[in-house]
């Protein structure tokens, strides 16, 4: 391993220490990150780079740190953001042909906060077009490959972000999660992925897929890193009407490993044998054992409407998407069809040429479920199911502090194996979508390998209570070292 590799091998917290001790500098870290990105083109995790600007920003950060005045725990740290989070002067393609040439004139709220904290955005991560997918294969840039096995998917839709962290390109990446798009790729890539409570993080500057479900969150190696990242990006933003006013409580100081007496619910509906990889189930049960040893009490709970979640999710998400994506019409920006015969032709061809089959499928589905005569049967009913799912969780959380489930029913599947079967692709989200429908915080934590591929378990918290799931995840990581596994050293033993 060269120096670039060792520099980025650890967690964000490791790099912070190195920076503060003066062992390394932001410029070295950013340079190392850019080198790593350049050295792994076959991953296809990064779709655009900011080499010059990133290095210049690193120099400024270096001066601050040399003076002993870092702006935040992530000052001078190289990060990547998903290609649907806009940054002024940068492209924001959402991996879509229709936005191929688009450059944003403004920063997303999250980008403003990252910049104010001194983080150096080195590039933009690959994704499924408009975050519609579970494998990062539905991208104009081609698929992102798993750093663990390049014949396999990295999950999606924030696959480029997850792969970047797993491959040690950066210690911290940001994705968006509409139905599991942070947690599922985190699970597939063996990293931590946190979807905050809906409204916790500003959606200003996040290109909307499904507005009532979308939420930005971090992907990183360790749970304390996720807490650090959330502290940077969370907070009320008056530009987002769905942003919540409640301040984030201090998170890091509560990560002391003590989870004695916490009650965690195990929903029976999420532990059915059918359709779940036995290796996944085995690793998750082992993780439960580890937490039990730490003093966590597990209780069976029931989420009776679980079987309707995927259906409700795909109705609501596609309905919102059909409307959110109407603005990509070739009129003001983005791809416009050549020499349109008339207005109808301009719309038809700009959108036909600009969107992939999966995006078209979801726009059509969403248009259908909102149509006169079908609204009540589909959209109306899905909203009622959403209310029932929310009540399921309220009921369950009256008896526990958090809920634990597998993150995904399987490990990373082979590239191309589901691209012709949208339904089976949609089922990848079976354990994750409920958190989006109910607006809850959720996190995937790596818990070992099955047949050489990473497995993650999911922690779901009460609304606004990221603190408890972070405590649980941190307690688990203090007792294990699955999060230290990497594609380059996949064989170290767990501590516990």
């Amino acid at each position: 391993m060269g120096s670039a590799d060792t520099l980025l091998a650890g967690s964000l917290s490791d790099q912070r220490e190195g920076l503060d001790r003066g062992d390394t500098s932001p410029s070295e870290l950013v340079q190392a990150s850019l080198e790593r990105i350049g050295a792994r083109p076959s991953l296809n995790a990064i779709v655009s780079r900011r080499d010059e600007r990133a290095l210049a920003e690193a120099d400024v950060a270096a001066a601050r740190i040399a003076e002993g005045k870092p702006l935040s725990p992530i000052d001078g740290i190289p990060v990547v953001i998903k290609d649907n989070i806009v940054q002024a002067g940068e492209s924001a393609t959402c991996a879509s042909r229709i936005l191929e040439e688009y450059v944003s004139p403004f920063d997303a709220g999250v980008v403003e906060r990252l910049r104010a904290a001194g983080a150096v955005i080195v590039g933009r991560a690959n994704m499924d077009e408009y975050a519609m997918g579970s494998s990062t294969e539905n991208s104009i840039y081609g698929p992102t490959h798993s750093p663990w096995d390049e014949t396999r998917t990295c999950g999606g839709s924030s696959g480029g972000s997850a792969a970047s962290v797993a491959a040690g390109l950066v210690p911290l990446a940001f994705g968006s999660d509409t139905g599991g798009s942070i947690r599922q790729p985190a699970s597939f890539c063996g990293v931590v992925g946190l979807k905050p409570t809906y409204g916790r993080v500003s959606r200003w500057g996040l290109v909307a897929y499904a507005s009532s479900l979308d939420q930005i969150g971090p992907l990183c190696r360790s749970v304390p890193d996720a807490a650090i990242a959330l502290e940077v990006i969370a907070g009320h933003d008056p530009r987002d009407s769905t942003s919540i006013p409640q301040a984030l409580p201090p998170l890091r100081e509560r990560l002391d490993g003590d989870v004695e007496g916490l009650v965690v619910g195990l929903p029976s509906e999420y532990f059915v044998e059918e359709g779940v990889d036995p290796g996944v189930l085995a690793r998750v049960k082992e993780a439960i054992g580890t937490l039990e040893e730490a003093g966590v009490r597990f209780e069976p709970v029931s989420l009776p409407h679980t079987r309707h979640t995927i259906a409700a999710y795909y109705v609501i998400a596609t309905a919102e998407a059909s409307s959110n994506l109407a603005r990509f019409d070739g009129v003001r920006y983005g791809r416009r069809a050549d020499l349109p015969a008339d207005l109808e032709d301009l719309y038809r061809r700009s959108r036909s040429e600009g969107f992939s089959a999966e995006v078209k499928r979801r726009i059509l589905l969403g248009t259908y479920v909102l149509s006169a005569g079908y609204y009540d049967a589909y959209y109306g009913k899905a909203q009622r199911v959403r209310t029932l799912i929310r009540r399921d969780f309220e009921e369950a959380f009256s008896r526990c502090d958090a809920i634990l489930t597998p993150t995904a029913p399987e490990t990373a599947f082979v590239l191309g194996s589901k691209t012709d079967d949208p339904l089976s692709m949609y089922l990848s989200d079976v354990y994750t979508v409920s958190a989006n429908l109910a607006g809850l915080p959720g996190m995937s934590v790596p818990c070992g390998l099955s047949k050489g591929m990473p497995v993650g378990f999911q922690l779901l918290g009460k609304p606004l209570d990221e603190a408890t799931i972070l405590r649980l995840g941190d307690a688990f990581q203090r007792r294990t070292d699955f999060h230290l596994l990497s594609p380059e050293s996949p064989s170290s033993e767990a501590k516990a």
């Binding site: 924001a92 004139p105 403004f106 507005s211 009407s241 409307s323 019409d329 909102l370 149509s371 609204y375």
Partner: protein
């Protein structure tokens, strides 16, 4: 065909879109402007750039509450913004944010008066908030080429859509309703409602039914009527079209109509069955609008006196006729002018006369608004004072008036400058009287025989000789005593 009115009754409901008087747009911080360079009053939100989100301009909520209170409606504690989805180049998001199932205001009424008719109460079904679209410019002369151009300055400007019940029964009632609504909107400062600026637009739902029928006929909707004359003419034209259609054995089908003012005809633009499916659903980017009772009360406390209240008060307090009170409360500026002048001179009836007759005529001739001319309530009051004191004859006051309207100034100084002070000195008047009697001995004879009519002729002659300065009462007295003793 005989007059269709003999057989049918007209049923009209109106939908009015009125621009709210705000500094910024409904969901973006871009300023609301009229006449700015195209696309110079837009923010990334108005352009629907990727990643933008709407934030409600709270000011519009207070304006909606004001309207709700002014039309005796319910201000709903919970209302919802919904997306109305359709594609058009001047609609940047591909949807308009509006309110659908749960509007901010519902169930009110407006009283109207039609000339020669009785007062009628017209129901208002609802009023909801929505954003305006931009403008598409297809005119080659304006666009500079065959291409269509888009101006998004108007995109996102806040609108209230105010929907009436189908309570209107004639084209005249329709315009009376529009005038009353416009007057309310201006009074309470909710909208300037200037039709020429597109701030006040109207769609009319029109149907006819046999006199005495209880069921409504099939209605059509005439879109985009942008003057009161067009509203009236279009409704008449559409009613006639429907009556002729039925007379020819056809039937009215639901449709969107256009009105051609040049031909004074309506024509079908689109049949209802071909209309868009707007796929309304609650906008997930916005939270429901909640209005606390305290907020409604604080708006109520600041609500100015409404036209109908003012009209009643003017009749009681100033003993004005219903007609004068109606004219003087048509706009808030007229009413304020009246009250100020009446208080300054203490002769409300005289102020009312000057205003309803002379002032309105002057304004009409100049095609000006009260705000555009120089006369002030104080000027009118002092002019009336001069007349009341007998220092200026009504005739000469009327002569000074146009100049005072145009240039303002001090009426007394102007009177002196022009040498128009009334002659009330008995000696001076007697000189004119003697002159006139000497010149018209035969007329004097008739008066002496008891005929009063020729007296007016002699008075006219005296006034003429005095160049209008003689005080008419004294002239009459002097003539009568000189001739009849």
């Amino acid at each position: 065909m005989t007059d269709w009115r003999d057989e049918y009754e007209l049923v009209i409901g109106l939908e009015v879109h009125t621009h709210l008087k705000t500094a910024t747009k409904l969901f973006s911080p871009a300023p609301v402007t009229y006449g700015a360079l195209p696309n110079h009053s837009v923010s990334p939100i108005d352009l629907a750039l990727p990643g933008v989100l709407p934030v409600l301009n709270e000011r519009v909520v207070d304006l909606a509450i004001r309207l709700g209170l002014a039309i005796h409606a319910t201000v709903n504690p919970h209302s919802v913004f919904a997306r109305k989805n359709y594609f058009y180049p001047d609609l940047p998001k591909g949807y308009q944010i509006s309110q659908f199932e749960e509007p901010v205001v519902s169930g009110g009424w407006i009283d109207i008066e039609v000339e020669g008719g009785e007062a009628r109460r017209i129901g208002v079904t609802r009023a909801h908030l929505e954003e305006d679209a931009g403008k598409s410019i297809h005119d080659v002369a304006v666009a500079g080429s065959d291409d269509s151009c888009i101006d998004l300055n108007r995109a996102g400007v806040p609108l209230l859509e105010i929907v009436s019940e189908p309570d209107l029964r004639s084209a005249q009632e329709a315009t009376a309703y529009l005038r009353a609504l416009r007057s309310i909107l201006r009074y309470i400062g909710v909208s300037d409602a200037d039709m020429e600026k597109g701030q006040f637009r109207c769609d009319a739902n029109v149907s006819i039914r046999k006199h005495g029928a209880s069921e409504f006929g099939t209605r059509t909707e005439i879109k985009n009527l942008n003057s009161f004359t067009h509203v009236e003419d279009a409704i008449e034209a559409e009613a006639l079209r429907q009556a002729e259609l039925i007379a020819d054995g056809g039937e009215v089908v639901q449709a969107t109509m256009g009105y051609d003012p040049a031909r004074r005809r309506t024509s079908v633009q689109r049949l209802k069955e071909n209309s868009d499916d707007y796929r309304y659903f609650p906008d997930p980017d916005l939270i429901p609008l909640r209005i606390e009772p305290a907020r409604i009360e604080s708006v109520r406390a600041q609500l100015p006196e409404l036209p109908e209240e003012k009209r009643a008060r003017f009749q009681n307090e100033y003993a004005l006729s219903a007609y004068d009170a109606g004219v003087l409360t048509a706009t808030r500026s007229l009413a304020d002018f009246f009250e100020e002048a009446a208080k300054a001179c203490g002769v409300p009836k005289a102020v009312a006369n000057w205003m309803t007759r002379d002032l309105l005529r002057e304004l009409k001739e100049r095609e000006a608004e009260l705000e555009d001319v120089a006369i002030t309530p104080a000027i009118l009051a002092s002019l009336i004072g001069l007349v009341e004191e007998g220092r200026l004859t009504a005739r000469n006051a009327a002569q000074l008036f146009p100049d005072l309207v145009a240039d303002g100034g001090n009426p007394e100084a102007l009177m002196n400058e022009r040498g128009l002070e009334a002659v009330s000195d008995a000696g001076a008047i007697d000189v004119f009287v003697e002159e006139v009697i000497a010149a018209h001995p035969d007329v004097v004879e008739q008066v002496r025989d008891g005929d009063d009519k020729p007296l007016n002729f002699l008075m006219g002659q005296v006034m003429k000789a005095s160049q209008g300065k003689a005080e008419p009462g004294q002239v009459r007295k002097a003539l009568a005593s000189r001739i009849r003793g």
